[in-house]
Symmetry: C2
Subunit: 425 residues, 2 copies
């Protein structure tokens, strides 16, 4: 069978296995795998890898080892009962190896009233599957498994190894992928099928969460002029942060961001202050995320925000006396950068054209993924490409277009053939 | 004994009874009388009124009767176990009657860590007593009781009646005073010894609480330009409200407000929005109070804010599609107005000068009290005058200057002599 014949076979195989692929995705969505509850979903992955005959490695990441690592970020230090799962399809040698990395954890479902269907139902309506995590990123994980299975259905032997990783903790800052890096998993390149809307991201921005404390001085609302409103002061702080966002984005000239309105946004996502309608608020807390460009480090971005906030004192003497307190907390994602001419990008693009019959969009990502850790810490250049709409992630009525799961599987399977190389049996 | 001799006697009596007055105030402060817990403090009042030999009326206000009244405002409809207490010292007739109204309820102590002493300790340090409610307004209540007791110590019979009211629910909008009005208590005038910093307030502003819901559209923070931030939209709303405050205050020309920086403030006391640092906030809730001038009605002020918020649509088309939702909730206080030349104001002023040896400050109040209901609904013209610093009310480390409690008691006792008139026994 010729190379192109193999790719036709992959396409046919995926068509035949469509129902079982959908069933697998539905089963994974039904297994609620929010932080701390990943075990059941991982058990499904283990069952699947076992059927596929891969070498399987299952372990609970070691919190004591992880927590001292400079790139550790999580809201917990104990990962007992939250296993990482790796399955390896060993090649015969002589080809390039690849890591296929997907996270199994999902963000909480949030307010159930905002969902049209039960968030962990995996309900299928009009070729869309609904559910928390279906897009971010169990759909992508199923694309990976289908891609490997499609390859296994061919009468070939791969040369390079395929290392499939189902990791925990991506949504909290990547402790699962960090643990697999520390366990020694490394490859010539990696694909991370986060929901990119089928765009190819050789570069990805990092991000960090920050918390600001803006002080005021309390007073009765009827004599509010005797106090200093922390809410009023917060308006200045928010405007000031907006200016930093403008400044930082003016400096971005990477052509991969040329079609992106705000390449590295600073998003203020939460505000909370005051405790009584007729009192002057004496404290406002602001929480947000700062995007970190693929070309800078987390430390550089941190320092810039810190110094920028100090400048508030020039605008209002109040901030000389009561500087805004800045805290870095919660999740963070390392930015990552792979040359847009990297051969894996080229192969993904070529196979995208063959499958989708259109040119792919190649951009830099608007958010961080575990690809940053893989590229920068794991020394495994990572490209982000997967099914599912970016804007569906984390929101009520999250869904995935089922067709895209199979399209992504086909593109990835064909790319693996090209990347790892093979011998006919 | 001549008139002036009686006043000297009052002063001496208060001096002699200083320790027992302090003990009574301390006992009242130690009886936590936050909403729903007023019973123990009222029991102390009842004991005191019993010793004084007044006619006592104790009743739990009837929620069913109150809740249909247009001026009812409270967070509850059931007042079982929260009694109002009235004590009447009947005059022999021929004089002017007076209501002495004080509320027994106190606002919650709040964060105990911000208190130097236990909030319900009534700790005395350097002639200051500390505790929740000591200023607002148990200090004033004790001034009233001491004033009546001082009068009872004189060899006279009053002509006019003294009606002492210890009411619940002032902090929640006046349901206790409304209940005593509906029970039929009425007089030729009233004194309400709220903490005015010993200023005399013939006029008082009303106020109402409002809640605004500002909508946005959610998105991932990394692509925040795909959403609409309710936090950003809130900034416009806050600026817009500030302009209304300016506009409303420019129209105030009452000389009683001439020394007040912002006569009728609009205070935004609370803001809360968004729920995830890296998501675009889709809802912000804002809570505040709007001051209502003594010359306008609550309905007029309501209508003005409602119409003003509609104008946001001219500034930003977003608000055409998603108008800010306005809700009136929680407490409200009717504004009240008594002629600054009213004889009770004159008598209080005259006696203030005799006791304090300075001219009193006569102003319009920066906040509402039960005096609004008494004046406007109860047809009992009310003047607000009491010990304690306005700025201490509702805050941690609330305290009162003990001397002021006795000064206020002396001024009020002398005023009662003049107002109610008397015969020597």
């Amino acid at each position: 069978m010729k190379h192109e014949g193999l790719k036709v076979h992959i396409s046919k195989w995926l068509h035949i296995e469509r129902e079982s692929g959908i069933a697998l995705l539905q089963k994974l969505v039904q297994a609620d795998s929010t932080q701390g509850n990943e075990k059941n979903a991982q058990a499904i992955i283990i069952e699947e890898l076992t059927k596929m005959g891969l070498d399987i490695d299952v372990w609970d990441p070691d919190g004591n080892q992880l927590k001292v690592h400079p790139h550790f970020a999580s809201s917990r230090h104990d990962f007992h009962g939250s296993p990482n799962v790796v399955g390896v399809l060993k090649g015969k040698g002589g080809g390039r190896s690849v890591i296929l990395n997907g996270h199994i954890d999902v963000v909480p479902a949030g307010d159930r009233e905002q969902w049209d269907y039960e968030p962990f139902s995996g309900m299928v309506v009009d070729d869309k599957m609904y559910g928390r995590g279906v897009t971010d990123m169990k759909g992508g994980n199923v694309s990976l498994l289908l891609a490997i299975q499609a390859i296994q259905s061919l009468p070939i032997t791969l040369k390079g190894d395929i290392i499939f990783e189902s990791v925990i903790e991506e949504e909290s800052g990547g402790a699962g992928t960090l643990a697999s890096i520390l366990r020694g998993y490394k490859a010539d390149a990696a694909i991370v099928p986060e929901p990119t809307s089928m765009k190819i991201f050789p570069k990805q921005q990092g991000s960090m969460w920050f918390r600001l404390f803006v002080k005021g001085r309390s007073a009765h609302g009827g004599t509010r002029y005797e106090g200093v409103s922390a809410i009023d002061k917060s308006l200045l702080v928010l405007k000031h942060i907006e200016k930093l966002e403008t400044k930082r984005n003016q400096l971005i000239n990477d052509p991969l961001y040329s079609n992106v309105k705000i390449p590295i946004p600073i998003n203020v996502g939460k505000i909370e202050g005051g405790n009584w309608p007729s009192s002057v608020a004496d404290l406002v807390t602001i929480e947000g995320r700062i995007g970190v460009s693929p070309g800078e480090t987390l430390e550089e971005a941190k320092k810039q925000l810190e110094e920028w906030l100090m400048k508030l004192a020039d605008k209002d003497p109040w901030f000389q006396q009561f500087p805004v307190k800045l805290e870095w907390f919660g999740a963070r994602w390392v930015p990552g950068s792979v040359d847009p001419d990297h051969p894996l990008v080229e192969l993904l693009s070529k196979n995208y054209v063959q499958v989708v019959k259109k040119e792919p969009v190649i951009e830099a990502s608007p958010w961080g993924t575990d690809g940053g850790l893989l590229t920068e810490i794991g020394k495994t250049p990572s490209v982000i490409f997967g099914p599912g709409l970016t804007e569906q992630a984390h929101f009520p009525n999250e869904y995935i277009q089922i067709d895209q799961v199979f399209q992504a599987a086909e593109i990835i399977a064909c790319t693996l053939l090209d990347w790892c190389e093979f011998e006919l049996q």
